[in-house]
C-alpha cells in the first residue's frame, strides 16, 4: 500500500516510543505547573486590591488570546537578552504551564463563584481570618467542582506538546522530524506519531469523562 514500508516502521518504533515517554513527561510536568499556578491566578483575581485583580485578569486574557507557539518562542528567546539562558525543557515547561494555568484559573474561578454566600457569612460570624476562611472553608469547597472541569485541559496540554519541538524539546514530534530528515522518509514517522496520539488521547479522554462523572456524583453535583 502506497509505498508504506513495514520494516522501516518497525525499526523506528522504539525510538518513537522513547520520545512518547518524553511527551508524557512534558504534558505531566506542564499540567502540574498549570494546576498550581492556575490556583494562584484565580486567587489573585479575588483580592480586594482592585488594581492587582485587574492586572491579573488582563494577564489571563492576554495569555488566553495569544498563540502558545509564540509564547514558547518568547520565553525561550527573551531570557538570553537579559543574560538568563533557559534550556529548551525549562523554557517549554514555563510556557506551556503558564498558558494552561490561564485556562485552569478560569475553571477555578467558576468553582469559587459556586461556593454559596452563606459559607462566607458563616466564616465571618465565626470571626475566622481571611486565611482561615480560604484554607479551611472556601478552597475545600471550590476545588472538587473544579476537578470535574479540569480533565479536558490535560488532554489539551498533551496535544499541544508537539509545539515544544520548535525550540528543540526532544518529544514525539521532534523525534519524528529527526527520523524523517535523517532517512528522507516522512510517511512512516508522521503517520505513526498520529496513531500514537490517537491511541493515547482517545482512551484517556474516555477515562477522564468517567472520572469526572464519578467526582460529580461523589460531591453531589449531578
Amino acid at each position: 500500500m502506497f509505498d508504506w514500508r513495514w520494516d522501516f516502521a518497525w525499526e523506528i518504533l522504539p525510538r518513537l516510543i522513547v520520545a512518547t515517554g518524553n511527551t508524557l513527561i512534558a504534558a505531566g510536568a506542564g499540567y502540574l505547573i498549570a494546576i498550581v499556578l492556575g490556583l494562584v491566578l484565580a486567587l489573585a483575581q479575588r483580592t480586594p486590591l482592585r488594581s492587582l485583580s485587574w492586572i491579573v485578569r488582563e494577564f489571563v486574557e492576554f495569555i488566553r488570546s495569544t498563540p502558545l507557539v509564540l509564547q514558547i518562542f518568547f520565553v525561550f528567546y527573551v531570557g538570553p537578552q537579559f543574560g538568563v539562558r533557559l534550556d529548551p525543557w525549562t523554557a517549554g515547561m514555563i510556557a506551556i504551564g503558564l498558558h494552561y494555568s490561564a485556562y485552569l484559573s478560569e475553571v477555578y474561578r467558576g468553582g469559587f463563584e459556586a461556593v454559596p454566600k452563606g459559607q462566607w457569612e458563616a466564616c465571618t460570624s465565626l470571626s475566622m481570618s481571611m486565611r482561615q476562611t480560604y484554607v479551611r472553608v472556601i478552597i475545600p469547597q471550590a476545588l472538587p467542582p473544579s476537578v470535574a472541569g479540569m480533565g479536558n485541559y490535560l488532554v489539551g496540554i498533551f496535544k499541544d506538546t508537539p509545539m515544544l519541538s520548535v525550540i528543540g524539546v526532544a518529544e514525539l514530534m521532534h523525534a519524528a522530524n529527526a527520523i524523517g530528515s535523517e532517512n528522507y522518509r516522512f510517511l512512516e514517522p508522521f503517520t505513526l506519531v498520529g496513531i500514537i496520539f490517537l491511541a493515547i488521547s482517545l482512551p484517556s479522554a474516555g477515562l477522564i469523562k468517567l472520572f469526572e462523572s464519578w467526582v460529580r456524583r461523589r460531591i453531589g453535583i449531578d
Binding site: 502506497f2 498563540p67 509564540l70 527573551v78 506538546t161 514530534m173 508522521f190 506519531v193 498520529g194 496520539f197
Partner: protein, 221 residues
C-alpha cells in the same frame, strides 16, 4: 535601539505578516464553519454508517494534534501525489482541525432546539430540509454563537502554526526579525500584542455584536 526606531524599521514586515495571518484566519474560518455544519449534521443522521463517518472524522481530528495534521498534510500527502502549496496546506489543516471541534458545537446546538419546534415544523408538513434550514438552524445558531466566539479565538491562535511550514504569517515574520536583530522582546512582544489586539478588540466585540443581533432576529433579546 529605541522601540519606535524598531517599529519604523520593521513595522512593514509585521504589517505584511498580519495580512497573511488575517487571510489564513478568514479562509480557515470559512472552511471550519462549512465542515462543522456538514459533519455536525451528519452526526445527527439516522443511518449509523453516516453517523460513523462523521464520528470518525471528528475523533480523528480531535484526537491528534494540529501540528501533526499540518505536517502530515504538507509532508506526507505529496507522497500520494497530492502536493499542496504551503499557504493552502496551512489553512486546510487549521480549518479541518477546528472544523472537527465546531462539528460538536453544531451537533449540541441542533439537539438543544426544543422538541416542540421540530413537531411544529412537522405539523406544517415542511420538508426535512426546509425544516432544518428555516426552523432549526436559525435557533441552533443563536445557541452556539457564544461557543463559536471561543472557537474562533482558538482558530486565530492556531493559524500561528502555519509559520512552521514557512507560510510568511505574523509569527513567521516575528521569527525572522528575531533572528536578524536578536531583539527578542521587541520582535515576539510586538507579534503577541498584535494577536492580542486582533482577538480581544476585533474578534470578541464582533462576535458579541453578532450574538446580539442574531438573538434579536429570532426574538430572544
Amino acid at each position: 535601539m529605541a522601540y519606535l526606531e524598531f517599529l519604523a524599521e520593521f513595522g512593514s514586515r509585521f504589517l505584511d505578516g498580519s495580512l497573511i495571518t488575517v487571510a489564513q484566519f478568514l479562509l480557515s474560518a470559512a472552511l471550519a464553519i462549512a465542515i462543522a455544519l456538514g459533519f455536525g449534521l451528519l452526526k445527527l443522521a439516522r443511518h449509523w454508517v453516516v453517523r460513523g463517518v462523521a464520528t470518525l472524522y471528528i475523533e480523528l481530528f480531535r484526537g491528534t494534534s494540529l501540528l501533526v495534521q499540518l505536517y502530515w498534510i504538507f509532508f506526507v500527502l505529496p507522497l500520494f501525489g497530492l502536493t499542496l502549496e504551503k499557504f493552502t496546506a496551512g489553512f486546510l489543516a487549521v480549518g479541518m482541525n477546528l472544523g472537527a471541534y465546531g462539528a460538536e458545537l453544531v451537533r449540541g446546538a441542533v439537539r438543544s432546539v426544543p422538541k416542540g419546534q421540530w413537531e411544529a415544523a412537522y405539523a406544517l408538513s415542511m420538508s426535512p430540509a426546509r425544516r432544518m434550514w428555516r426552523i432549526i438552524l436559525p435557533q441552533a445558531l443563536v445557541i452556539m454563537l457564544p461557543g463559536w466566539g471561543n472557537l474562533l479565538i482558538e482558530l486565530l491562535k492556531a493559524t500561528a502554526l502555519v509559520s512552521l511550514i514557512s507560510v510568511t504569517d505574523l509569527m513567521f515574520e516575528a521569527k525572522q526579525v528575531n533572528s536578524t536583530t536578536f531583539l527578542s522582546i521587541q520582535a515576539f512582544g510586538t507579534a503577541l500584542v498584535i494577536y492580542y489586539v486582533f482577538a480581544r478588540f476585533l474578534l470578541t466585540p464582533a462576535m458579541r455584536r453578532l450574538e446580539l443581533s442574531m438573538a434579536r432576529r429570532i426574538g430572544k433579546a
